[in-house]
Point group: C2
Chain length 113, copies 2
DNA sequence: ATTAAATATGCCTTTACAGTTATATTCCAT
DNA sequence: ATGGAATATAACTGTAAAGGCATATTTAAT
């Protein structure tokens, strides 16, 4: 029943649903890294890393902090809050439906007597 | 720092990262539906609906309950628990890193005196 | 000003997947 | 057993996105 979750969209999930990008996100768990560091650790070409970072950035998963030559990428917290809320709302809906089923069964029991 | 989250994988997110499949998942919030009902409500062809349901099923997002001719699809709760846990773990890591930063700043302050 | 390092971007190829159409399968009703 | 309804599947086409390569851009150092 819960309606649309604000901030939740398909393309954001799509940004995460790619192995290299997921690996980047996992790498950034521990703090910000430059493009070069990311490319090295994941054995990606530099342009390849930059492209994936652009997808993540366009979808609000990461943010950039330019520092001279380098660009430090780090995770934003908002998308993770949104996803958590979204996933929770489904669990709530499923629980609620189970509860309603319990009520219904109870009702049938009562009628029997 | 949190390691791999059990049950969390890229292809599961990929299953959700498609507009029609996300629409199916949102439809199923309110309970189980047959292929035909899903196809009608979302104005999908029957084969198209079946294919998307197969992707969702292969990734554990939905389960099927055959009933005579019809096949009722409904959401499984596990993937939503996994995703919630995954998203939460990122928020925890980010908070922890902020805390560490606070400690560090505090340390610098102390040294000054 | 020139050079070098770090990163972004444009072009190209290839691959993966959405979507369509036709057909096969399964189950019930007669 | 036959016919029809609901669903799955296979073959095909088109398109979007991943990946590679060359090049442009930005910044610091000399």
């Amino acid at each position: 029943m819960s309606g649309k979750i604000p901030g939740m969209n398909v393309s954001m999930l799509g940004a995460l649903a790619e192995p290299n990008r997921m690996a980047i996100v996992e790498l950034l768990r521990n703090g910000s890294l430059t493009v070069g560091e990311i490319a090295n650790r994941l054995e990606l070409s530099q342009p390849h890393a930059s492209k994936h970072l652009k997808v993540l950035s366009d979808n609000g998963i990461v943010e950039v902090k330019p520092e001279a030559n380098r660009r430090y990428y780090k995770l934003r917290s908002e998308p993770f809050r949104v996803i958590e809320y979204w996933a929770t709302s489904f669990q709530k809906d499923m629980e609620r439906r189970l509860d309603n089923l319990d009520d219904y069964v109870q009702e049938l029991q009562n009628k029997k007597q």
